[in-house]
Symmetry: none
Subunit: 320 residues, 6 copies
Amino acid sequence: MSSSRVVRASVVQASTPAYSLTDTLDKMERLTRLAAERDKTQIAVFPEAFVGGYPKMSTFGVVVGDRSDLGREEFLKYYNAAIEIPSPAISRIEQISKATGVFIVTGIIERDLGTLYCTAIFVSPGQGLVGKHRKLVPTAAERLIWGQGDGSTLPVLETSFSGTAERNNEVTTKVSASICWENFMPLLRTYYYSQGTQIYCAPTVDARPVWQSSMVHIAIEGRCFVLSACQFAQEKDYPADHAVADINARHPDNIMIAGGSVIVSPLGKILAGPLLGEEGILTADLDLDDCIRGKFDLDTTGHYARPDVFELKANISQGC
Amino acid sequence: MSSSRVVRASVVQASTPAYSLTDTLDKMERLTRLAAERDKTQIAVFPEAFVGGYPKMSTFGVVVGDRSDLGREEFLKYYNAAIEIPSPAISRIEQISKATGVFIVTGIIERDLGTLYCTAIFVSPGQGLVGKHRKLVPTAAERLIWGQGDGSTLPVLETSFSGTAERNNEVTTKVSASICWENFMPLLRTYYYSQGTQIYCAPTVDARPVWQSSMVHIAIEGRCFVLSACQFAQEKDYPADHAVADINARHPDNIMIAGGSVIVSPLGKILAGPLLGEEGILTADLDLDDCIRGKFDLDTTGHYARPDVFELKANISQGC
Amino acid sequence: MSSSRVVRASVVQASTPAYSLTDTLDKMERLTRLAAERDKTQIAVFPEAFVGGYPKMSTFGVVVGDRSDLGREEFLKYYNAAIEIPSPAISRIEQISKATGVFIVTGIIERDLGTLYCTAIFVSPGQGLVGKHRKLVPTAAERLIWGQGDGSTLPVLETSFSGTAERNNEVTTKVSASICWENFMPLLRTYYYSQGTQIYCAPTVDARPVWQSSMVHIAIEGRCFVLSACQFAQEKDYPADHAVADINARHPDNIMIAGGSVIVSPLGKILAGPLLGEEGILTADLDLDDCIRGKFDLDTTGHYARPDVFELKANISQGC
Amino acid sequence: MSSSRVVRASVVQASTPAYSLTDTLDKMERLTRLAAERDKTQIAVFPEAFVGGYPKMSTFGVVVGDRSDLGREEFLKYYNAAIEIPSPAISRIEQISKATGVFIVTGIIERDLGTLYCTAIFVSPGQGLVGKHRKLVPTAAERLIWGQGDGSTLPVLETSFSGTAERNNEVTTKVSASICWENFMPLLRTYYYSQGTQIYCAPTVDARPVWQSSMVHIAIEGRCFVLSACQFAQEKDYPADHAVADINARHPDNIMIAGGSVIVSPLGKILAGPLLGEEGILTADLDLDDCIRGKFDLDTTGHYARPDVFELKANISQGC
Amino acid sequence: MSSSRVVRASVVQASTPAYSLTDTLDKMERLTRLAAERDKTQIAVFPEAFVGGYPKMSTFGVVVGDRSDLGREEFLKYYNAAIEIPSPAISRIEQISKATGVFIVTGIIERDLGTLYCTAIFVSPGQGLVGKHRKLVPTAAERLIWGQGDGSTLPVLETSFSGTAERNNEVTTKVSASICWENFMPLLRTYYYSQGTQIYCAPTVDARPVWQSSMVHIAIEGRCFVLSACQFAQEKDYPADHAVADINARHPDNIMIAGGSVIVSPLGKILAGPLLGEEGILTADLDLDDCIRGKFDLDTTGHYARPDVFELKANISQGC
Amino acid sequence: MSSSRVVRASVVQASTPAYSLTDTLDKMERLTRLAAERDKTQIAVFPEAFVGGYPKMSTFGVVVGDRSDLGREEFLKYYNAAIEIPSPAISRIEQISKATGVFIVTGIIERDLGTLYCTAIFVSPGQGLVGKHRKLVPTAAERLIWGQGDGSTLPVLETSFSGTAERNNEVTTKVSASICWENFMPLLRTYYYSQGTQIYCAPTVDARPVWQSSMVHIAIEGRCFVLSACQFAQEKDYPADHAVADINARHPDNIMIAGGSVIVSPLGKILAGPLLGEEGILTADLDLDDCIRGKFDLDTTGHYARPDVFELKANISQGC
């Protein structure tokens, strides 16, 4: 592909080393370096909660109308595994990006005083942290541990990718992030489309097969590239006392989160993945002109909208 | 399945006998009768433009900046094949519904003075025509021949299905229709979800494989049953002089519209189909309680919405 | 003519140098300079789509129900030939206006994220871009490539023309633009009349003889000066591979758009033109008092209206 | 032309025998009979004020702030020449229609208590008087002698033409009337278009050359047949003491109203006329399908409208 | 008179200095100042069209069916003599009111885009322009030059008059205006009565003796004070080339408008005037309690109405 | 006057012989015969309450909150003087009309079970009683003795006057009646105007000088002939014990009701009267064409109305 409007992009399918921040950041560095060197990638998307961890199967001792002391201890441990913005952990990620030249989008658990947020951050090799997005609605039991984001953290970032050895052009595009079931929120997606997102990042831990349908649908609906990065995690990736599906059948290799990372083009073509049953990196060339080719017959916030019938009012404020 | 909240539903995959209204209505009667008698169905969804026809591959002599006399003649012919509301054709459909006891949702080409609309009508055995929906945005070359609907024809109809021999209960639910690429309009879908649609009918002529992804996604996103009825049409189903993909390789069996009708549950399970390569009727039992089961963890216009961040203003007026 | 309420106005009949933005802006500069120096003109109207081009005879590979890859490539090329507001191209037009002292009204193809619009911009020597109007309803195949404007881009601009050497008075008047078949929209025209338009610009590519009847009618109906600027284009003005009327008889001199630019007074007198068969500039003195003389016996939104019987509700919002 | 949707129509260009009702009705009978027998016409349109007369050049003794006794006498005479609905004169016209089988549209001066109206009546061979339209806004000095119509007399009449010897089909269409400068009222025209007028009758006394432009424009804009019937009148057609343009150069042959009757097709083709310099009857075959062919690319109250931007509120009540 | 509910009011009988706005406003200032200083007046009513002028005897070149170029020029001149709201002329009147402390009701010729209106404005010393009324139906030849007002300009203004040296009370009352023959419109008067008008201003140019009967009748019928201000104008008050009654007997002293200004009490008593044969100011004390005294036995929109038999529907909207 | 549209009309100014029905009817016969023979009159209008009497100065013993026995006796006496419809008294009036050929409009006191009404009856030589009108709102103390009429007795009667010796033409016109202060009810008058009244009869007992202003005003406003017949009554015309203005200065010649009968033309010209200080008959020729001449410039329910702003709803039912 010789187009001058091509960006090489990767999705990283990996688990969080159990509640260890150091191990996690080391792993991020290792994987980013691999994507840069082996795949010559320009942007890498890591899964939801990659930094801080996704406490799959936990209940935090909560039942309706009661909480347990043990659950409070578990929350304290989880709270301590989360990171603040700014913080040394953020600086470390900025260094990884700078060192590798890779634009990083990664899920983190963000600590802000007493509340944790499920956040995606955008880190640029040249400018460091350039934006963050906090998940708007946690799903089910996530509501026990994460707060809600708002209109101040919904960036669609204009981003420039400088030329690589292969392609010495500079490409400017727009990048956004929607975390896990946020991808089922039609108004959020519509807002992102209306801002011109072309690289639609979808960090997740949803590994159900039907997830694939939604990723393809969103690519078509938004005429954008969808980069879904899911965790692949086994029991061994969690602390030894972590909750599991069957407490009577604990095994280090039991799967906790099954993966399914995928890259889809604006016309619904699967460019890479879905990756199942292992950690790994998927890489594809994104010809950004495909967004234009696709909008030729469908632009849901342009010629294919009906603002006279349906108007989306977005309450967006300035944020990070 | 013994639930008292079950409706038996069919999607009909069929072509329009070329521009012949009489043949089309006869075919509708035959197929509805079959669905009623063989499958004991209570609601049948016919494809987009089933009455009036979908002039696939036609250009109506239009190029940018010019129209031809021949194209005007083709439009006149197409105009004459369309039907008005009310009209004898509508009465005939009401009679089919009444005689078979089947609630019919069907695509029609609706004529209103000088403009044609791609419309879906809702016909009840007991009440006759109870609503209509006009497609909001025609796709690509459809814009040459169809006008745009508006906020007066977006019904979500509360509908009661009386008990059958098997299940002598009465079930009340809500039915809506979105035609073809309207299904890619996130704000329209959101509106329908907000009105409580449970039987989301999707008459279409889109036979691309990726269509399946969207049907599954919508079922999940809206926690509703999706009933997509597509045409299956071959060259022989069109007038002899109709445009075809390859004018040098005309053959009666050449496929014009490939089908792909499907029924999906609110959790994304495919209940029937996709049906490919032939005409036919797909039937499935819809346990309406699955909509509730699904909304437990996802209700995009309820607990999973963020009206403080995103508000949908809908300009809806009273209509048929 | 010695009146102190006279404006000298020109319509420019010219083609777009095939998809070349640089050439187009150079041509605009040259023609504006000619109108300024030779004709001492104060306002110049350029045709529809003069910047960006009018892809006459193209189909963009669209037939009912299908699009081709080739068509998507053609759209991408056309998309890239369009301009954004603001952009360097707009700045260039502002410079041309400033350097020549000529108020410019020109058709452009405007790019806004994924959708193109057929737009007319108003550029003042002193203030630069002062307004834009997006065509409300594209005609026929234009609907394949252009979106629809709305009530936010319907300006009727109060404009002052400073004195020239010949006439050192300052004249204030109102200017509007209606593009091509918008001129057949009676409610749009009525709205413009109700806002007091006196210099009614009609950039177009409609070169049919009957167009002349409509221009005269509008002048009479609205008691305004009608300045219709049409393209004159031959095959040589298009890219070599562009669609043509007869692919077997390609010739550089074949006419693609035949012209017919004209200037009409409020009482229906043709002041200049119609110009046929060549590029060129038509210039006339507009005695703005003729609008008042004409409204003596006909003011369709004043003493000749019947607001008790017919009321026009316009949904106008603030815009550029 | 062998189409089964053809109506043969005539416009009658004639003067009113000076203020003589008997002579006028005799003349109407003679001309209708001629159109029926010679031209096999099915509908005939007579000019504005054909019955009652158009007092061209009169001032009725009115200056700003004063009226004269002589003017009041002239008004009394004109008042007595007008007719009521119903009245023997109306019955006579009904008889003419019945006897000839011709649907008649004619301008009359209608007397209603103390006020006169410039009215067009519709008279059917089978049903007699079926509707009337009163001019909404008299022009200039007409305001001294005629009142204003309102929303109760704006019929668009569904009319059936029974088969003739040549064409034994029955054709149903819609007929409207706009009198003289009403044809410059864009909202009135829009209302008629929205009601589906196909035979747009324009009785007039406007004999200026620019009238032709408007007739062509309206046909194109409304995609309807325009039948404009103008008076041709000379000084000898008026009472001997009637006002004339030049009182010092009275001559029986001096032209008072110059004619210009014309029939135009929905695509702007002139089917008959303009007739100048003499009385006479123009006849043409109207293929009503041309209205549909024309609406293919322009339907100003359907697919080519923007009801979200411009809405026409019409205050229409039931009337004759 | 020692009542605390007394307002001192004047009617000003004067001509418009021919088409000169500056002279007219200077004259208004001089006369208002005189009424304030000499008569201690609190409200002054000026005649119809005092600002802008009443073109008595003009025809503007209009005959039935024809207009002349000369007439259009006369209209243009008259148009240019009219004023807009707001405008410097309005500001000047506000300054006159403020400087003198006199509430001014004056006739103006109001320019609104292409149409002129015969308007009465209400100007308060403290608030400036507080309302305007446009004449609903121009009379006879006035229909050639003025448009019609509507329900948006029918104010009945609650007005407070602060105390004067003589009477240091504050009096609140209601003021309305009916221009010239509007005073013959029984439904308009009934509407004003129903809104409680007490100071019924009647600017006019009707100088016929029978005008006095109507003024007395209205005072009785409405139980209100009637303040009729008429112009007194001679040929010398018009431009030299203005139309006159007898072109062969032009004389500067010939009377054009004979005056007849008058002030009448609610029981029909003539408090001042009629003033004939000269310019001048009439002043009287209005004991507002007389309105109540009069309504004891006659309240045509209260105890003396029969709403079960006759109901007045007024279509009133918000306006200036 | 040689017009063929002339009616000769009289107003009769006379008193009611005190409470004597026989004397009253004899007096009516005598006066009618005089008008017929001496004046060749065709229509005669008698005053309000001519039959039955107007109990001027009476209080019927009523004070607020109390009635006296004496007052009840007085009412009984007055009740007995009133007449029913039909009754011998009515027959007698019909005979007078028939014998003299004079159309009679007269005030009567009508007895209908327990209530008296102040009524005007219309009696034709050929058809006898053809209509009646009951006063809608009695004035002041009249409310103690008379009930209110309603929408069933508001006739405007089409009446034909056969030719006389002098003028052997037949004239058809419309006649109405408004009694005393009803003439101040603008909506009632408007209703009569809207029905085309030309001979507007105003039987009254209002003898104040200002009454003359209202009669002139109504003639102008309604463009109708106003025939006001007032009583002329002295103390001797009442029963000896009747209330009087000054009980200490009773004198048979003291004036109780001073007269003031008058006939006014549609342009406000007084054709006869006012008659003061005596009984008598006023006669004038009414040229009905003057109604038309007058409506030329004023028709308050036709061309000079604004039904869009003011609509009169009249609740009229069929009656006598």
